[in-house]
Amino acid sequence: MPETTTTTLAASLTGVSKLYGSFAALRNVSVEIRAGTCVMVLGENGAGKSTLLRMLAGLIRPTMGTVQVLHSDADAECSRIGYMSHAPMLYDELTALENLLYFEGLYFPTACTPCSRNAERVLTAVGLDAKLARPVGDYSQGMRQRASLARAILSDPELLLLDEPFSNLDAAGAAQMVSLLAEFRTWPMRGDGKTSAQRTIILTTHQPQLAEALADTVITMHAGQIVNVTERAR
C-alpha cells in the first residue's frame, strides 16, 4: 500500500504509562497503528500485551499519556471495537445463540426482531452450529474460543482486538482461526456512510509462527515497553 501523509490511523498511543500501585504495566509506550493493517504483538508473560489491548478497548485508562482510538477518545466509539480476551465473556448457562442475541440487543437496541439472522450468520461463519442447544459451559475449548470470537465480531467492528486467540487451540483449530480472521478482514462493513473504513486487527500471541501469514506489522514488547516494531513486506 503506498504510504501517504493522509494514512488513517486506527489507534495511536502517546507516552502512555499504566501504573498499578508501584508496578508499571506499561512504560512510556508510543505507537501508531494504521487502519486496515493486522498487527501482531509479541512478548513474554507480563510484558504488557494484555494491558495494551485493554487500554485500546477502553476498559482501562492510562495513568499518563493519551490514547486515541478510531479518531476519538477510547471510550466514545465502543461499538466499533471488538475485544476478545482469555476469558470467553459469555454466560456459561446460555447457548451460543442466546449469548449472541443478548449482546446483539445491547449493541443494536432499536433493531428489528428478526435480526437473529445476524447472530446466526456470525456463528456459522466461525464454524459453529447456530442451532446447538448446549450451553456454552459444556463446549470444548476450541468451540468456546470460536464462540468468543463470534461475540467479538458480532457488532461488525472496525477494530478487532484479540488477546491470545490461539491459546488452547490445537494446530488445526489455530489454522481455522487464522483463515477466519483473514476472511473477516475482507467482509464488507455495514453501511454507515464511511465507505473508506477499513478493518484493523491487533492480536497478541506467544506463537508468532501461527499468525505470520496474517500480520503486516509485528510489535515486540518487554517489561511494559515496546522494544521493536517490524513492518513485514507482503
Binding site: 485508562r61 475485544y83 432499536t110
Partner: protein, 224 residues
C-alpha cells in the same frame, strides 16, 4: 423508549439465567424458611404479642434472604468476564443495573409470596388494620433493599472480603428503610399506628436512592 427496552433485555437475560440454574431462588427460599422457623422458637408468641413482633421478624427474614441472593448476584458476570463485554457495549451501564435490580426484585417478591402464608400460619396472624396496604409496603420495602443491595454488591466486586463488605455497607444505609418497613407493617397488623407516613418515607427513600444509584453506577463500574 430505548432505555426501557434495554433494561427489559437485561431483565430477560437475568431471568433466563436464573431459570437455568435456580441457584439463588432455592437458596433464598430455604434460608427464609429456616429464619422464620428459628424465630418462632426464639420468640414464642401469643396472638397479641405476635402482631407486635411479626413485622420486624418478617423484614429481618427478608433482609437475610436478600443478602444471600445479593452476594452472588454479579457472580455470573464476573465468572467469564462478561462484565467487560457489557461495559464495551454502547448501551448505558445503569440499564444493566436496573435490569438486575428488577430481577432481584422479582426473586425476593416470589420468596415473600411463599413466606406470607407461612407467617400467617406460624404466628396466627390476622391484620387489625388495612391489610391491603401491605400490597404497597412489601414492594416498596423490597425495592429499597434490592436497589441499594445490588448497587453495593457491584461496588464490592473487586474488593477483598466481598461477602463481608456487602452487609457491612448495606445495613447502615438501609436503616431508615428498615425502620419504615417494620413500623408500617406493624402498624397494619396491630392497627395502632397509621402506616401512611411510613409509606411516604419509604417511597421517598426509594426515589432518592434509586436516583443516586443510577447516577453513580457508571462511576463504580469504570473504577479501576
Amino acid at each position: 423508549m430505548s432505555y426501557l427496552r434495554i433494561v427489559l433485555h437485561h431483565l430477560a437475560k437475568d431471568l433466563k439465567l436464573e431459570w437455568r440454574s435456580r441457584d439463588a431462588i432455592t437458596g433464598m427460599l430455604f434460608f427464609s424458611l429456616l429464619v422464620v422457623v428459628l424465630f418462632s422458637f426464639a420468640f414464642d408468641p401469643t396472638a397479641a404479642v405476635s402482631r407486635q413482633i411479626a413485622g420486624g421478624i418478617l423484614w429481618v427474614a427478608i433482609l437475610f434472604a436478600s443478602v444471600t441472593a445479593l452476594n452472588q448476584t454479579w457472580t455470573r458476570e464476573l465468572r467469564n468476564h462478561v462484565l467487560d463485554a457489557q461495559r464495551m457495549a454502547p448501551s448505558p451501564a445503569s440499564a444493566l443495573l436496573m435490569g438486575k435490580v428488577l430481577a432481584n426484585f422479582i426473586f425476593v417478591t416470589f420468596i415473600q409470596i411463599v413466606l406470607a402464608p407461612l407467617f400467617i400460619v406460624f404466628y396466627n396472624l390476622h391484620a387489625l388494620g388495612q391489610a391491603w396496604l401491605l400490597l404497597l409496603i412489601l414492594p416498596l420495602g423490597t425495592w429499597a433493599l434490592v436497589m441499594n443491595g445490588t448497587f453495593f454488591a457491584a461496588l464490592g466486586l473487586r474488593t477483598r472480603n466481598r461477602e463481608l463488605l456487602l452487609p457491612l455497607v448495606l445495613f447502615p444505609i438501609s436503616i431508615p428503610a428498615l425502620l419504615a418497613m417494620v413500623e408500617a407493617t406493624t402498624g397494619i397488623l396491630t392497627g395502632d399506628v397509621d402506616p401512611v407516613l411510613w409509606m411516604k418515607l419509604l417511597a421517598g427513600y426509594c426515589i432518592i436512592f434509586t436516583t443516586v444509584c443510577v447516577l453513580l453506577f457508571e462511576t463504580i463500574l469504570a473504577a479501576e
